[in-house]
Symmetry: C2
Subunit: 413 residues, 2 copies
Amino acid sequence: MSVTVSPLAPKAYPEMPALRGVRMATAAAGIKYKNRTDVLLMVFDDGADVAGVFTRSKCPSAPVDFCRANLPHGKARAVVVNSGNANAFTGVKGKAATELTAQSASEAVGCGLNEVYLASTGVIGEPLDATKFAGVLGEMNGRGTPDFWLEAAKAIMTTDTYPKVATRQAELGGVTVTINGIAKGAGMIAPDMATMLSFVVTDADIAAPALQALLSEGVGPTFNSVTVDSDTSTSDTLLLFATGKAAADGQARIEAADDARLASFRAALNDLLKDLALQVVRDGEGARKMVEVRVTGAESDAAAKRIALSIANSPLVKTAVAGEDANWGRVVMAVGKSGEAADRDRLAIWFGDVRVAVNGERDAGYSEAAATAVMQRQDIVIRADIGLGSGTATVWTCDLTKEYVAINGDYRS
Amino acid sequence: MSVTVSPLAPKAYPEMPALRGVRMATAAAGIKYKNRTDVLLMVFDDGADVAGVFTRSKCPSAPVDFCRANLPHGKARAVVVNSGNANAFTGVKGKAATELTAQSASEAVGCGLNEVYLASTGVIGEPLDATKFAGVLGEMNGRGTPDFWLEAAKAIMTTDTYPKVATRQAELGGVTVTINGIAKGAGMIAPDMATMLSFVVTDADIAAPALQALLSEGVGPTFNSVTVDSDTSTSDTLLLFATGKAAADGQARIEAADDARLASFRAALNDLLKDLALQVVRDGEGARKMVEVRVTGAESDAAAKRIALSIANSPLVKTAVAGEDANWGRVVMAVGKSGEAADRDRLAIWFGDVRVAVNGERDAGYSEAAATAVMQRQDIVIRADIGLGSGTATVWTCDLTKEYVAINGDYRS
């Protein structure tokens, strides 16, 4: 946790409403940090349907293995999250740490081992001493409260400079339901997996298979469309829980993701996922500028996304943004290296509303001053039209600054 | 051209021998730089067989298009290289600039347009005013000299901090032949294409198709195995010329790349290509450390190379190297994100000779002090054994420093 808050941080936190069916508590177990909370317990007293997406790393952490194994059961009663140690690449000790934590949670809450979900974030490769917090889960369960979202978000931070929370309401079968979410993440953020840790809870009554379909679909244009540094964590975990408490208001349980009644819920969920994902980018390590990369005119949406990620992950594009340099030649480079079909002589590029290149060369009406003015903003849109088809994609990233290098040059020390 | 020479620069330049059949001259045309040479003319008075490999960018520069079109002819008489402007993404003006340059070279040297080769390096997207140097090619041809390799290397530099030259001798059919090469490149360097500009000349008598096969094979473990920043230039060009002058010593012309007499030549060529490629990495923008990434035990050599590049391109690995931090957890991360088969519990990782992780967890005998001592060196070997097969690969990269960000944050200004 840095003392300096990202300049891109939200100016204010939303008021996070209590959500029926979930209670939370945090504790300071001293896993790595001093004088701050580093363990979160979430409890669903009457259970919740659960869905999850995880890192695509071939070397996932022990907690990711643990969650994946439990997910087919579809029901959750407890979530234990710790910061400071990722319990990744910790061999048999790592597995033992997850088992100890799950056993303790199961005893504290009174549930099956297959109803426990775990996540750990922090340093990779250091054995996690789960005894530091396993013993306090009972006490934490005793004082858990529904009105604790911001504190929950704080307990799971690592290099984050601010806690990330979001809330939405939706209409579901004539009943108003709520979705609350928290997230953490600032570096080792790349797409094509769940990206970082995030826990989203709704009081809607939705069965696990439908919930999974909603989540898997929802991450595509949100968490899977953000990148800070192209590095994929071993531990990325996004869990979605439905406590079903809205059934008390008359909400009929939803069994299938294609249920037409889900329209409002789906939109609210996707909007919340995007909110949290963008908060992660805005807290990108060393970030000073937020960049939205929009690609249009590609051969397909998939091609557009690969081109957009090629731009968003290019160190030369990201350092140009840091230098407030409207260096569109580097955007051309990044389009060209993506491997996707591109025709140099049909390409057009914009910084904000300023078209800097068109038909394969510098725009005749291009004003360096106008483009530079765009680059001096905190939020920048880079747009590339490939001119070949109708494929579109939008991804988000941040600039690459000296502070990123400084933060990551001595993270362990 | 920076005033500060990379700390990884060679301590001394090799004595570059004159090479029969090629003459060179440079000029200061003021394309972008002041008080330095920025144009190189190479002339093969009696012609040369030629081979080339180029960037795989989908948005290549106009000179790359021009060279690709000429290559099937197989014969070269002149090469014109300019620094300061890449003539890339310059539309019809770019094509006109290559045509003007080629026309001028053809008149200066007295050869066909299809015997001219062109390369440009520098800023992308700015129209290249070829009139600045097209008019001086005749005068340059008049004073061209064979003994000019270091000056030639200097004229093609951009953000390079030192000129890159290499020379080798080989035995071919009982005759001693020489291979000389120059290269430039410091940023926008990534593999899977020819990478940056390099011009290699031999006095051996080898037909173009054989030369092409030798070159295409030779770039795999050399120029295609180095990365500075994962960014692929629009302009990468590597040309290999054979003047055939060794025929005067009795060297019988080689027509096919599988000719057994090529063994010594092939080895010398590959060694020279590796020498030049590593010089490019050692001049990586902002580089303070050279990193060799060795992957063993992968499912195949191709898988090993993808894993090695995933490690070498990871910003988190590269910043850890910059910070002299033996953060092997980030190597695990990079192995995991490569997409190639990996088994966490079989993975072993070394920094230098220090094994830091084995069987999926920290090595019990791991000494932080010993690992840190390795990281404090200027040349660092990171090794990962995947434990699944016999695939191996070695790639080279440099660290990611604040200076990289500084250099690229205001390159245009």
